[in-house]
């Protein structure tokens, strides 16, 4: 239990998707103009990461990893399909996003309308695929570790995007040099936020 919590906290603060690995940067920059929309995107990302990472974990454990196919019979034990993981992961992500979209539309129309366009768009958000690839690289022991990693990464992204959106809402009233307005200053602020987040590196978990 403690271990799961550690992974969760670690992926929020120390291995933050945005500040430590720059994943999901495109939507992070494009959708962070107001707090409200960035909240919507952030929640959608938490949702999708929390589902796709465990599903991809199962896929990796039982189909793709070297020797994973041994449950089919001893003659399959030699197979190594890991070169297929990109295409399988992206297919899972695209279809899970579609599925999540349909489920949310059916059972939570209010949430669906507030997420709007963001839900289909996160199929191509690098944070989602990145989550699955990191999960594969780090070789988590059980599906629960993978799930808490997925959820934690999603919450980290949510934290980052809501933070930058709040700053951008305020910075509109400041006198930024014309050439830096918009994109430039956002980059620099993100860099400074990243440096601030690095102070979490000292925490031993």
């Amino acid at each position: 239990m403690q271990e799961l919590f550690n992974i969760f906290v670690k992926s929020i603060f120390i291995d933050n998707m945005v500040f430590a690995y720059f994943l999901g940067m495109c939507s992070y920059l494009a959708v962070s103009k107001t707090v409200k929309t960035s909240m919507g995107l952030g929640i959608a990302v938490v949702f999708v990461l929390g589902i796709t990472v465990p599903v991809d974990y199962l896929l990796n454990q039982y189909v793709l990893a070297p020797g994973a196919l041994s449950w089919l019979g001893p003659q399959f034990a030699e197979f190594d399909l890991s070169f297929l993981s990109f295409i399988m992961f992206i297919a899972v992500i695209a279809s899970m996003v579609q599925l999540v979209e349909m489920v949310v539309e059916k059972f939570a129309p209010a949430l669906y309308s507030s997420l709007g366009i963001f839900l289909p768009l996160i199929a191509v958000n690098c944070a989602i695929l990145g989550g699955s690839l990191f999960m594969q690289e780090r070789e988590y022991v059980t599906i629960w570790h993978a799930t808490s990693f997925g959820l934690g990464s999603g919450v980290g992204f949510l934290l980052a995007i809501v933070g930058i959106a709040a700053i951008r809402e305020k910075i509109r009233y400041s006198n930024v040099p014309p050439a830096l307005r918009g994109l430039g200053i956002t980059f620099i602020i993100t860099g400074l936020m990243g440096i601030a987040f690095m102070s979490f590196l000292g925490i031993k978990l």
Partner: protein, 219 residues
Amino acid sequence: MSKDKREKEPLFSAKNRKLLINPLHKDNPITTQVLGICSALAVTAKIKPAFVMTLSVIAVLGFANVIVSILRHGIPPRIRIIVQLVVIASLVILVDQVLKAFVFDVSKQLSVFVGLIITNCIIMGRLEAFALGNKPWPSFLDGIGNAFGYGWILIVVAFFREFLGSGTIWDYPVMEQLGVYNFGYQNNGFMILPPMALIIVGIIIWVQRSKDKSLVEEN
């Protein structure tokens, strides 16, 4: 009919040249279109991985644009995203296998970022915005042009980070050769940390936009 037209148009007509040149500066994917930032920042601690990443993106983007452009009349609009993803993912698998075979150490350094070319928004963005509506040759030029536009930013950022952070250029110890360490110079370890990449890109944007006022945003 379209064949005649293509034969009349020279391969490097003014329009086609523009496709190639514009993304280098005015329509730069990173500083103007804001595409493909993720990988641009993560692989730039050293020039070598940045260079390999650039080559990979050039290959994937050029070919993906051509393939999608050839298929553009056959792809049903409703499922185009997944078709594009499949095209891109297959190309990325090829690139990944090549990297693993020939430059294994760099491939280890790039870790998940080769795979993340799949979701690199430059590629999806160019496929959506250009290849779906244009012939293969212009699409190819557009792809190559954008990949170069992406690449030069990558290499500039990597140059500064490696030079100031590790005192080397392409693993060649420039600072040591210059002997500046004897005067008490120290490498700025800060430059190797990931956030500095963001700040350097921010500065590049600043310089570019101060030179070219037309790119300045309202807010």
